[in-house]
Amino acid sequence: MTRVDQFESAFRAADKPVFEFLQPMVERALVVTDLRGADATAFRNRVRDFLAVLGNGVQWDLDDGDSFTTIEALLERVNMRNPDLICTYRSLHSEAWRWPYSLGEYLDVLTQVAPCPVLVFPHPRADRTNGHTLQSTDIVMAITTHLAGDNSLVNNAAGFTNNGGTLWLAHVEDEKSFSRLMDTISKIDAIDTDTSRERILAQMLREPSDYIRSCKEVIASHRPSVHVEKIVTVGGRLVEFRRLIDKYTVDLLVMYTKDADQSAMHGLAYPLAIELREIPLLLL
C-alpha cells in the first residue's frame, strides 16, 4: 500500500494555496503615546506622514499620555474608539525603553488584546535607526516561518507598501529545528537519511516559493507598481531575519504575534519585537 501514500503525497504537493488579494481597510487609526500636548501631536503627524500609503481618508485619533495611566484605561479607550489600526511604541509610561529586554506592560497586553494590527514605532527618544529613515514605507518586509497560505500577512504587507515600493516576502526555515528532525531521522533505519534530508528540505522551501509566485502574479494585477520579491531560505531565524532587515534597509516589518494556543506572543515574534527596535513593526 506504499503507492497509495506516494500518490496521495503527489496530489497533496500539487494542492497549493493560492493567494487572494484583499486590500486591508484602514478607516480609523488610533495613535497611542505617553507624550503630551504638542509632542504627542507631532508624533501623531510623524506617524501619519509615514503611513501616507493609507491615503487621506483615514481618521487619525490620538490618545496621549494624559488619557490613560493604567492598562485598563487604555483598553477602554481602544474599545471605545474601535480603530482599524493602533500606532504606538514600546515602554509607554516607562523608562524601560532604554534596555532591550521588554516591550513594556502596555504593549504586551495591547498586542494580544487589540482586535486590530498594532504598528510599533521606535521609541521617540531612541536615536538608533541604523540608517532607516522612518520617512515612508517604500521597502516593506513580511517575515514568517510559515508563509504558504498566509493571505492575511501578505495582504497587510502589500497594503502598507507605497506605490513604486518593494514588498519582500521572507520565509526562513529554522535550521536548528531541521537539524533536530534530521538527527532523529538519521536514527531510524527504515528511513533513508540522505534522501529525506534532500527531499524534506526541497519540499519545505518549495511550498513558500510556489506561494510567493502566486502572490506576485495576483499583486501585479491589483497593484502593478508594487514589486514583490522572494526570500526563502534556511537559517537561524533571529539572526537571519536581522541580517535580511539590515541588508535590504527595510522601512516596515510585518509579522504575526498572536497564537491561537496561547495568550502570550508566539515564540519567534516576541524576541523579534524586542530586538528589532530600529524600525517600525506591524504586529498582526
Binding site: V4, F7, E8, F11, A13, A14, D15, K16, V18, E20
Partner: protein, 472 residues
C-alpha cells in the same frame, strides 16, 4: 453437447497414464486445492501474503505429486532441443509473468513522468469542483486507467486523488460513496482490454483471443456498465450538482489551487512518457499481427517497454526493482505450479466433469450460469486461481478449446472480473479502496461494503449475462 465427451487430456498429453491416478489421490489434491482457496479467502485473517500461502501449497503439492508419482520428470522439448528443467519451471506460464512484470515496471516508471497525476488533476480542475462532475470524471478516469494500466494502479491513483480533492472541497462526507463507486468501476474497466486484468490475460491467452477482438467485444458492455454504475452511484450516495453560483464559484476557487504541472520534473520526460504510453497500447494491441513481435508475444512487448522507460533512470533502476510487487509475481508463479500439479492429479478433470454439465446446458443458459457461478466464487476468493483453473479446463474442451469466439470464454472473463465487486475481498482493487476508506477513518465493515455494493454488482452481473446471451 455431450458431457462425457468433455475430458481433460493434459496429463495424458504429457505421457502420463491417467488411469494410474487413484481416486483417493485426486480427492486428496482436491482437498488441498479447496484448502488453498479457503486460505486465500482468509488472507487478511491469516496475516499472510498471497505468495507465501500459495508458495506453501506449491511446495507441498509438488512433494506429494512426486511421492504419488504424478509429475512428468525428465527433460522437456524447447524448440526441438531437449532441455533439463526442474518440473515446476515449465509449469509456469512465463508469458503471463512477463506481461505483469513488464507492465508494472512500465507503469511505475511512466508515473514518474507526472503524466497520470497531470491527467487526474486536469480533470479535477475541469470539473470546477462540482461533486457530480467529479464523480463522472473520476469514474471515467478509473475505467480508462483500469483498462490501460491495471485496476489496482487505477484505484490507487484515483482513490488517493479523491481523498485529497474531496478534503480540499470540504466534502469528505461524499468520500465513501466516491470510493465505493470507483472501486466498483475498476472491475468494469478491468474488462476493457486483454491486458486490463490478470483473468483477461490468462483466459484471453488460453483462448487465443486477440487484443482488438477482446476490445471490440468487451467495449460496448464496459460503456453501458460504466454509465449505469455512475448513475446508480450518484443516486445511492446522493451525489448532486452544485446549485447556486456562489457554491460553484467557491468550489472552482478551491480546486484552482491544484497545480497539474507540479509532478512534472522534466517536460521532455513528460512527453516521452506520453508517447511511450500511446506506443505501448498501440504495440500491445497489434502484437498478434506485427512481424517478429507476434512470435515474441505480449510479455516481450511489456518487458521491452519497461526496459526502455528504465533508461531514463538507469542509475537508480534498482529502486524500481524494489517497487515491483514481488508478492503478486510470486503468487502467480506458485499458482501456476499448483494448478499444474492439480492437472496431473486429475483434479481439473474432476472439476471439468462437473462443469461439463453446466456447459451442456448450452450457450445461453450454460454461459449465463458460468457468469453467475464465476462471479459468486470470485467474490469470496481470488479470481485468478478461478480464471487459471477454468481456462485450463476450457482449453481441454474439444469444442470450446478451439473456438476463441465461444461465449464460455467470455462468461469466465465477465464472471471472474465482476465477482470482485460483491465483497471487499473479491478483488485487489476493492481491497485497495477499503484500505483507503479505513485510512480516512470511515466506518465500513465487510457487511457494510456488501450491503452498499450488492445492488451495483447484481445489476452489473445481470447486464453481463444479458450481454453475453444476446450479443456475444
Amino acid at each position: 453437447m455431450n458431457p462425457a465427451a468433455f475430458a481433460l487430456t493434459g496429463a495424458a498429453q504429457q505421457g502420463h497414464d491417467v488411469a494410474q491416478v487413484p481416486v483417493g489421490v485426486t480427492l486428496l489434491f482436491t482437498a488441498l486445492l479447496m484448502a488453498m482457496i479457503l486460505c486465500l479467502a482468509l488472507e487478511e485473517k491469516l496475516h499472510a501474503k498471497k505468495s507465501v500461502i500459495v508458495g506453501l501449497f506449491a511446495v507441498v503439492t509438488l512433494l506429494l505429486g512426486a511421492a504419488f508419482d504424478l509429475l512428468p520428470f525428465g527433460s522437456v522439448l524447447v524448440g526441438g532441443h531437449e532441455i533439463d528443467l526442474p518440473v515446476y519451471v515449465p509449469a509456469i506460464d512465463w508469458n503471463v509473468i512477463a506481461i505483469i512484470l513488464g507492465s508494472s515496471l512500465f507503469v511505475d516508471v511512466t508515473s514518474r513522468s507526472g503524466l497520470f497525476t497531470w491527467i487526474a488533476i486536469t480533470l479535477t480542475k475541469t470539473s470546477g469542483g462540482d461533486p457530480l462532475k467529479l464523480l463522472v470524471y473520476y469514474g471515467v478516469m478509473t475505467v480508462v486507467f483500469s483498462a490501460v494500466l491495471n485496476n489496482v494502479t487505477a484505484m490507487i491513483i484515483v482513490g488517493s486523488l479523491t481523498g485529497v480533492s474531496l478534503n480540499r472541497l470540504a466534502r469528505s462526507n461524499l468520500l465513501l460513496g466516491f470510493l465505493i463507486t470507483e472501486a466498483l468501476l475498476t472491475n468494469v474497466g478491468g474488462l476493457l482490454t486483454l491486458i486490463s486484468s490478470v483473468p483477461n490475460i490468462i483466459v484471453g491467452t488460453a483462448a487465443g483471443i486477440s487484443f482488438i477482438r477482446f476490445f471490440v467485444v468487451a467495449g460496448p458492455f464496459v460503456l453501458v456498465a460504466t454509465l449505469v454504475t455512475l448513475w446508480l452511484g450518484a443516486r445511492v450516495f446522493n451525489i448532486r450538482r452544485l446549485v447556486t453560483p456562489e457554491e460553484r464559484e467557491q468550489a472552482a476557487r478551491l480546486v484552482a489551487g491544484f497545480d497539474e504541472r507540479d509532478g512534472i520534473e522534466s517536460q521532455a520526460f513528460f512527453w516521452f512518457g506520453t508517447a511511450m504510453l500511446i506506443a505501448f497500447i498501440a504495440v500491445i494491441a497489434t502484437t498478434s499481427v506485427l512481424p517478429l513481435i507476434q512470435d515474441l508475444g505480449m510479455g516481450y512487448v511489456a518487458i521491452t517497454f519497461g526496459v526502455i522507460m528504465l533508461l531514463r533512470f538507469k542509475a537508480i533502476a534498482d529502486k524500481f526493482y524494489q517497487a515491483i510487487d514481488w508478492d503478486l509475481l510470486g503468487f502467480f508463479a506458485a499458482l501456476f505450479v499448483v494448478i499444474n500439479v492439480m492437472e496431473h492429479a486429475l483434479v481439473l478433470e474432476l472439476i471439468g466433469e462437473g462443469l461439463a454439465h453446466v456447459i451442456g446446458l448450452g450457450d445461453t443458459l450454460g454461459a449465463g450460469l458460468i457468469v453467475v457461478l464465476g462471479a459468486t466464487v470470485s467474490s469470496v476468493t481470488d479470481n485468478i486461481p478461478l480464471a487459471a483453473m477454468l481456462a485450463k479446463i476450457l482449453t481441454a474442451h474439444p469444442v470450446i478449446g478451439s473456438d476463441p469466439d465461444s461465449p464460455f470464454w467470455w462468461a469466465v472473463v465477465f464472471g471472474a472480473n465482476l465477482g470482485g465487486n460483491l465483497t471487499p475481498i473479491g478483488s485487489a482493487s476493492t481491497l485497495v479502496a477499503v484500505t483507503i476508506i479505513h485510512k480516512y477513518e470511515l466506518n465500513l465493515s465487510f457487511v457494510g461494503f456488501v450491503k452498499r455494493a450488492l445492488p451495483f454488482a447484481v445489476v452489473q452481473i445481470l447486464l453481463a449475462v444479458a450481454y453475453i446471451v444476446l450479443f456475444v
